[in-house]
């Protein structure tokens, strides 16, 4: 019940803020249109097939990544507006708050991912061998992973400007070096190594495999790597969140 109310609050706040709703969908959409139609012909010529098909899972991953990471900013807002104190002195453990917040942020992020997924139909995306429970599982894994990372960063920082700065340095490299935009085969070794160390790569791969088939790493690897890193970030996030003082 306590976790539920923390979760519910996140959901209510999200659906009440129309600018956030639109703003966080606009960016992935821009990428989908610009890259999808811009590089589509070249991709086709190079024998990669339909680029929109390839790109859409990556863009869904990106939408989830951004929303999840930014859910960490809410901790800073709450601290700034004093609401964090209300939660910290209440008889609810930090872990419960953290679980409620993470689930709330993840729900919102998955919702965004689904919207992008639906919109992608308009630009010609057609899932093949589409298995929706797996899609949802990978969406949630990516969402929880980056929500936990957002919480960690949000707990460590005191002001919103610093948070935004770190986000800008994090979101784009994670996105560009994840295989969301291009296949990882045949890249220079250094890029492959970076992509291997990037948790989003496994998320995008899992999403792509469950939407259109053809995994790079394979379902099991994607699932295990995401699971392990998610657990790690959850532990880290809970630790820093529990150490927080106002």
């Amino acid at each position: 019940m306590k976790i539920y109310i923390v979760w519910l609050r996140q959901i209510k706040r999200y659906f009440r803020s129309r600018s956030r709703l639109i703003g966080s969908i606009a960016q992935p959409l821009l990428f989908l249109l610009a890259f999808g139609f811009g590089f589509g012909p070249i991709f086709q010529k190079a024998g990669g097939g339909n680029y929109i098909q390839f790109l859409t899972p990556g863009i869904i991953g990106m939408a989830i990544l951004t929303t999840s990471l930014f859910s960490g900013a809410e901790i800073i807002w709450d601290r700034q507006f004093g609401f964090l104190k209300e939660m910290l002195v209440a008889p609810i453990s930090r872990l419960e708050i953290m679980i409620g917040r993470t689930l709330g942020g993840a729900t919102v992020a998955v919702f965004q991912g689904i919207i992008v997924f639906l919109i992608s139909f308009l630009v010609g995306f057609r899932p093949q061998g589409f298995f929706w429970p797996l899609v949802l599982i990978f969406m949630f894994l990516v969402a929880i992973l980056f929500c936990a990372l957002g919480t960690t960063i949000g707990s460590l920082l005191e002001d919103i400007q610093g948070f935004q700065l770190i986000m800008n340095f994090l979101v784009m490299p994670l996105f560009f070096l994840s295989g969301a935009l291009f296949p990882l085969q045949g890249l220079p070794q250094i890029f492959i190594k970076i992509a291997l160390a990037n948790p989003l790569s496994y998320g995008v791969d899992g999403l792509r495999a469950s939407l259109i088939g053809g995994a790079h790493f394979g379902f099991l690897v994607d699932f295990v790597v995401l699971g392990v890193i998610t657990t790690l970030f959850l532990v880290l996030g809970s630790y820093f969140f529990s150490k927080m003082e106002t």
Partner: protein, 262 residues
Amino acid sequence: MIKVQNLTKKFDDLVAVNNISFDVKEGEIFSFLGPNGAGKTTTIKMLTTILRPTQGQIKLNGFDVVKEPTKARQSFGIVFQDYSLDDELTAWENMEFHGILYGVPKEIRRSRIEYLLKLVELWERKNDLVKNFSGGMKRRLETARGLLHHPRILFLDEPTLGLDPQTRNLTWSYIKNLNKEEGVTVFFTTHYMEEAEKIAERVAIIDYGKIVAQGTPVELKEKTKTQSLEEAFIKLTGHQIREEKANSIDRMRMRRRARFGR
């Protein structure tokens, strides 16, 4: 009910609270007074588990706040000095959130929220978002929220700051009633000395992080040979005006206000 022993809090080289000890008995109304920056809010923050003491021990309702924070938290309620509402939620939702976090059963929660919102005259606005409320309305809502779960100990950090005399009176009579009927221990800070004199059974005066006097208002007046608690307070703490050190959050708020005009 509240047992504080050798409590100290240091921020880098600044000693905000310097080795203080005091006891508040069950069912007592206790007032914690001091000039700005004397260490009142820091003490309240340590008592309410949001700041870790550098040294010393605090027991609330028998629970050590550092070792058993959740049990200690279940024992108290607090009305903060500055805003702690969620602007994006309605008045009702803010109350509901609080009630659920403190485990108030549904039926009691509903009726008490209604009673309290009517008491602070916000019942008609219960479905409005808090961001559309005036400063005074937010303050009233905050007070109502702090009273929702009928805690064993109630902390009030300048609860009546910015309230008009009518609401102030109502608030205090509700608190006194709660104290009498349910034996709730009340710990409050205030800058209104006549309020402390009228309501508190015992007061402690803190200055430069140390307790300079404690006792009943009558005892303090006798000790300082003054007519009112206000005179006693000034005699004990001097005439000098204190500047508070802004913490990082205050600074951030200032920047925001400067930039966005709020």
